[in-house]
Symmetry: C2
Subunit: 432 residues, 2 copies
């Protein structure tokens, strides 16, 4: 074994960074044996050096992250700051100065992945980011490497623990969205401003990363269709239960049937209780992968948290260190297929539509005609008089598979019918 | 991209080999893009060349596998023959002659892994074997690489599809073992001689491989405690249901609580219906991994079959080819921890014991005394008179956790009690 240590610079020392530092210390011998050389924490860049950090030598702490990544003796920079800047500049500078990079930064990878990969390639260094998607779950490496000889057709998963916690709570207790969000906040599962989670921005970033890897193409955050889950109601869960389903916020990346394009999207969807994703509880994540040869695979585990995310970061750190010792790099960006990303309208899906309609003869015929005019075939209709004497009834329609554009066009046309008083809820149905 | 192709020799062209050859042809462009050079099938060694092989150039087919692996121009040898010989000699010869090796051979890796890894290390070539465990499920690479910065404490899984099909059938239909086995045979899930599957030899080989990787130690097939599932009865399933469990054949690799040794075992066990492994249906496989930092992870997918196994083989082929182009190798054997393997008696587990006893006062006290004398604490006891007037009753005892040696010692002592007419069933309880 080499005795001269590999030097690691840590950018950020919050929940994840402090766990990375802790494990680097407590498991130093194991890491050295697995890498073939010791690894040494050579510097820790933080914003507030005054905060006490147990187990970290104060002499290593600096507020000047740029100087740290420019030092020249750093082998690997671990970036766990998050956000776009200064993370982007620091990673780029680190690569230019000869360091390999391990990042957990989903937002940055989703927005600027291509440029960062190009910088890594230019520098001849590694850029690894297993921790950017689904926390501890090995997912990037299996998609990039284990399935490198297969053709992936679909990646569908629960990739945000906060929203899964909220939806699971609504499902199991009948709570409304706000009540479940409040509990998630109280328990530390949701941030004070939950927008990035509940509006699906976090999941969309992960979908962009997963789609890019799965389809060997470039998929940016802007390419991902996104609907959050803050408008999901207890009534939606009641509708889902009535058809043997539950509701999950899903990230779905698909290859089009003709193979010529791909789509990526994030939205709440009903899935059958028999689907493996339906039983993913609490803040756990799970990702379902469908490929030509392997068939259906699922990866399950904790999607966030300091220690789980640190596990993914350290797995990357070991790989990157091994690559440096061997004088090479691991697989870089693979975007050779260069498949275009189609808009949401081109996605083939199913809708569950709940309508408030006038309770009189002929309404169903009128509604059915609108579906037919848009080329959307109906699977089931359930019609219920409300029995409260106001002359209204509810109509629940589940469609067969159709282009999302046709389905949303149908909904628009239904809104314009005199006999339709309102569209109570629309939800896509997946996993069948 | 390099234009000179990497040459691949395929040893074996059965269910898996023919799929490997087919995908190499149909996905040639994708493989070339992902590797950075074309791959070419340069020879196929088979026993019976007369059998027609669709899509394979007859000029490539040979019965002389040794000459093929000695050719010197072969970059990668893919071994999908199975069994110990001639696979072992061919792999060794291939490595000596400069080829990298991809193997799907669990029996060989479990028996001679250390020697084969040493040969690969000596030759400076790769030996990859993702397909040897759990078919298409990415498992070896996640354990070896993704979790390389973590400390794995437990690997517990369903790693044999045949036995899971049989047990699932018994569970869902109430069928007996023979009936379920007959159906598995008729459907092609079980071989004409099902011994390797139903007696747990196949799962034990996989347990040895998984334990070695997870604990960075050498674990051989002989180190794995093994009980098959051919004696599991419909009555066992009824008992399992009564306590909210089902029965699975599990491979379990554990680090001892003190960290100083490991155990590996295969046996049928009751697991709670709420455990993720309980809902693994049919011939699917799933493996649960517990580690210090990542927590609980699960990997799920098809554990066998031509195409799924070929997916894993081709993932390895891409990695090995990339390594050759870069002039290096991937991670080799990691056995630095050199933890000893403890015998089954040292495993801490729980027993579900069903006794036929005399239906008279004092029996429970007598039985409870035997448990106490062996230091085994009882969790629950259920006593049922048989109501058929023969003076017998049944006693179902579920223990707390104890050393397996204490538990099996207890059972031996119970057998010697006058009032115990017979031990109707013993089953370990896991996953709680």
């Amino acid at each position: 074994m080499r005795t001269r240590p590999l030097k690691v610079a840590l950018l950020g020392c919050g929940v994840v960074g402090s766990e990375v530092a802790r494990i680097m210390t407590t498991h130093a011998d194991d890491l050295a044996a697995r890498i073939g050389a010791p690894v040494e924490l050579a510097g820790v860049a933080v914003r507030r050096p005054s905060r006490v950090r147990a187990g970290i030598d104060p002499a290593l702490v600096t507020t000047d992250a740029t100087a740290l990544v420019k030092r020249g003796d750093i082998d690997v920079v671990v970036e766990v700051i998050g956000g776009i800047e200064p993370a982007r500049s620091l990673i780029t500078t680190a690569l230019e100065h000869g360091a390999s990079v391990v990042s957990a930064n989903k937002a940055l990878l989703a927005q600027d992945g291509a440029a960062l990969h190009a910088a890594a390639n230019e520098a001849g260094k590694d850029l690894y980011y297993e921790a950017a998607v689904a926390g501890a779950i090995p997912l990037i490496r299996p998609l990039r490497e284990s399935l490198a000889g297969d053709k992936i057709n679909r990646v569908m998963g629960i990739v945000n623990g906060t929203t899964n916690f909220i939806l699971d709570k609504m499902d199991s207790t009948g709570a409304g969205y706000q009540e479940a969000l409040d509990e998630a906040t109280a328990l530390g599962y949701a941030e004070a401003d939950p927008t990035a989670d509940v509006e699906g921005f976090d999941a969309a970033a992960k979908a962009a990363i997963l789609a890019g890897i799965a389809f060997h193409s470039r998929v940016r955050l802007d390419d991902v269709y996104r609907e959050g889950m803050s408008e999901v109601t207890a009534a939606d869960f009641a509708s889902a239960k009535a058809m043997g389903c539950t509701i999950k916020l899903l990230a779905i990346c698909e290859r089009a049937a003709d193979g010529g394009s791909v789509t990526a999207r994030v939205h709440p969807a009903m899935i059958p209780l028999t689907h493996p994703l339906a039983s993913v509880r609490g803040a756990y994540n799970a990702v379902f992968v469908e490929s030509d040869a392997a068939g259906q695979l699922m990866f399950y585990g904790p999607g966030a948290g300091g220690a789980p995310t640190a596990s993914a970061v350290l797995g990357d750190l070991v790989a990157v260190c091994r690559n440096r010792l061997a004088g090479g790099t691991g697989p870089g960006e693979s975007a050779y297929a260069a498949l275009p990303v189609s808009p949401m309208g081109d996605v083939v899906t199913r809708y569950h539509i709940s309508l408030d309609v006038a309770d009189k003869p002929g309404v169903l015929a009128q509604v059915a005609t609108v579906f037919a005019e848009h080329g959307v075939s109906i699977d089931t209709v359930r019609q219920q008089g409300r029995q409260d004497g106001d002359g209204e009834a509810s109509l629940v329609v589940v469609t067969h598979r159709a282009f999302d554009a046709s389905l949303s066009g149908t909904v628009e046309a239904l809104r314009n019918l005199d006999t339709v008083r309102g569209v109570a809820s629309i939800m896509r149905v997946e996993g069948e």
